[in-house]
């Protein structure tokens, strides 16, 4: 890979980025250094994020909103400060458009339940064959509850959304179009704005699963064309236990409540209750306070580095990885074969070795990749596969780690005697 390596160029100072992530200098079994190529599954956390969480718990911890003492005011300012930061990070016109959930899955369920409340038989919900299970199952359940019909975009041989029958899918009956922006299995980046425009033309609401998009490139919801958009904290160098649903304010204001409880109410009487305005309406119970603080620190961290630079780095790494993987005999890449509109995840199959075995052998050399269907079984079925191996990258991924992967795959082939 000497040729490719000379051409690798990234705007990031990788050494200084990596210094912020203590786990990246861990040594694994057998003395191998960690090569973490599973960031699409969950990203690592910089010291700054963990420190912010620790500070919060040890110095400012209290419940929010309802606690009126000094610690309560500090905790509330910290929690709502997280909301401000997230709003700014994705270009939301108002902080009140940011709803904190427990993860992207809850955000998508929130969308499916509240939009689902007005679905009826004859209505159509459109998803795609390349969705993560979290953007399929909630809509299947909503359709079961309401009698609406679930339809989906197919996927082309080269791993793009098949838009050839878009006019059949988007009709007056179509009430919701829920699509992933970046596929977690194929890496495909979908043309959300174009599809959203067509969906809006037939009066449908557009829900975007941005779980793999927000971590990777600058996002501006004010121009995207989505009506609701979901992502998850743990994939943007933030904590587990928090996700985000962004929504156009007037849409959010028109939706019924989802979970009931403290904080989301206006007046509770035994005989019936009224509900608060968004975002509180959708945040029942004590919210993920320390997690919002951590997520705020996470988006600050990413902004400090620059999302445009992170995007450029991801692009360079993906290009480098695609090139490297193509040198491995018997390796088949799922989805787009070049780096155009390709997010930071590449799934592949290696002739004669099952993906779990690939991943276990790589793991004994310190290389962490994911094997399985990556919560996207339908798109694997589409390609006639039960599972695949996935390598995924982030701002701290180095070209040397890509080389370790490629070398490791050579070792896998030798070990299983397929070369």
């Amino acid at each position: 890979m000497t040729d490719a390596r000379t051409t690798f160029s990234s705007p990031l100072d990788l050494q200084s980025v990596r210094a912020d992530f203590p786990i990246l200098s861990r040594e694994l079994a057998g003395g191998f250094p960690l090569v973490y190529l599973d960031s699409a599954n969950s990203s690592q956390k910089p010291r700054q994020v963990v420190q912010a969480i620790e500070d919060h718990y040890l110095k400012h911890n209290a419940n929010v909103a309802r606690a009126m003492h000094q610690l309560g005011a500090e905790a509330t300012a910290a929690y709502e400060g997280g909301r401000d930061k997230v709003a700014a990070f994705i270009g939301a016109p108002s902080r009140d458009e940011i709803v904190f959930t427990k993860n992207a899955s809850e955000a998508l369920n929130l969308a499916a339940h509240t939009l689902g409340a007005s679905l009826k038989p004859g209505d159509v919900v459109v998803v795609s064959e390349m969705e993560h299970h979290s953007n399929i199952v909630p809509w299947q359940l909503a359709c079961e509850r309401t009698g609406a019909t679930l339809k989906w975009f197919g996927v082309t041989e080269d791993g793009r959304l098949d838009l050839s029958n878009i006019d059949e899918l988007l009709t007056e009956q179509t009430k919701v179009v829920a699509l992933t922006w970046v596929s977690n299995a194929l890496g495909t980046i979908n043309p959300i704005s174009d599809i959203a425009a067509k969906a809006h033309a037939v009066g449908a609401t557009v829900v975007v699963d941005a779980s793999q998009a927000v971590p990777q490139f600058p996002v501006d919801v004010s121009t995207l064309g989505a009506d609701l958009l979901a992502f998850t904290g743990h994939k943007v160098v933030g904590p587990t236990g928090i996700g985000v649903l962004w929504g156009r304010y007037d849409l959010l204001a028109s939706l019924p409540p989802f979970l009931g409880g403290g904080e989301m109410i206006e007046i509770v009487r035994m005989t019936g209750s009224t509900y608060a305005a968004p975002p509180a309406r959708f945040e029942a119970g004590t919210p993920p306070i320390a997690q919002a603080v951590g997520l705020g620190a996470a988006v600050d961290y990413l902004s400090g580095i620059g999302m445009d630079k992170i995007a450029a780095h991801e692009h360079a790494i993906v290009e480098y990885a695609l090139e490297g993987l193509k040198t491995v005999p018997g390796l088949k890449i799922l989805g787009p074969q070049d780096a155009t509109d390709h997010g930071g995840a590449i799934s592949f199959a290696l002739d004669g070795v099952h993906p779990h075995d690939v991943s276990t052998v790589l793991d004994t050399r310190g290389i962490a990749v994911r094997a399985g269907h990556h919560c996207a079984r339908p798109v694997h079925e589409r390609f006639g596969m039960q599972s695949s191996t996935r390598a995924s990258f982030y701002l701290y991924t180095t070209p040397e780690e890509i080389e370790a992967l490629v070398d490791g795959l050579g070792f896998v082939r030798k070990y299983f005697k397929v070369d």
């Binding site: 909103a65 309802r66 606690a67 009126m68 003492h69 000094q70 309560g72 005011a73 509330t76 300012a77 904080e263 109410i265 206006e266 007046i267 608060a276 509180a280």
Partner: protein
């Protein structure tokens, strides 16, 4: 965190004998607003005369700050054009969100300047705004209704 900054005598006076308290007839619109985090509630009636605030009356359960603020608010808007009341609200909001760094304009805010200290108690800012939010909502509804009548 000086208590006397918060509980100015003017505030305690308004709290003990709030102006325009007790719901009166006739009125154009009645609203009921709540601060869900603490439970304070205000019922408020507005009567407009064209674009002028003819009357505001209220009945509320709440703390000294919310009750006094509603009382002062009523004084400030009654007899004034709606637009002037809304402008006064903006000034008051600015003061409340200023964390103590905004110099209150006594010309505009009158007794409202007494609330300057509330800005240093972030948890109590919502209390001071409850009556205002009720008045703004009721007034907007009343204007919309008049608009409807005109267009009919």
């Amino acid at each position: 965190m000086q208590l006397d900054n918060l509980y100015q005598e003017i505030i305690l006076d308004h709290y003990r004998s709030p102006h325009h308290a007790g719901l009166a007839d006739p009125y154009d619109v009645e609203v009921h607003h709540v601060n869900p985090s603490c439970g304070d509630e205000v019922t408020l009636r507005v009567e407009l005369d064209g674009d002028t605030v003819k009357g505001v009356t209220h009945s509320s359960v709440g703390c000294s700050i919310s009750q006094a603020a509603t009382s002062v608010m009523s004084d400030l808007v009654i007899g004034k054009p709606v637009s002037e009341g809304m402008a006064t609200y903006e000034k008051f909001l600015e003061l409340m969100q200023g964390r103590g760094n905004v110099e209150p304009d006594e010309e505009v805010l009158e007794d409202g300047v007494a609330f300057a200290g509330v800005a240093q108690f972030p948890a109590r800012v919502k209390c001071a705004l409850l009556g205002w939010s009720a008045w703004r909502d009721a007034t907007a509804q009343a204007l919309a209704a008049n608009e409807g009548v005109k267009n009919a």
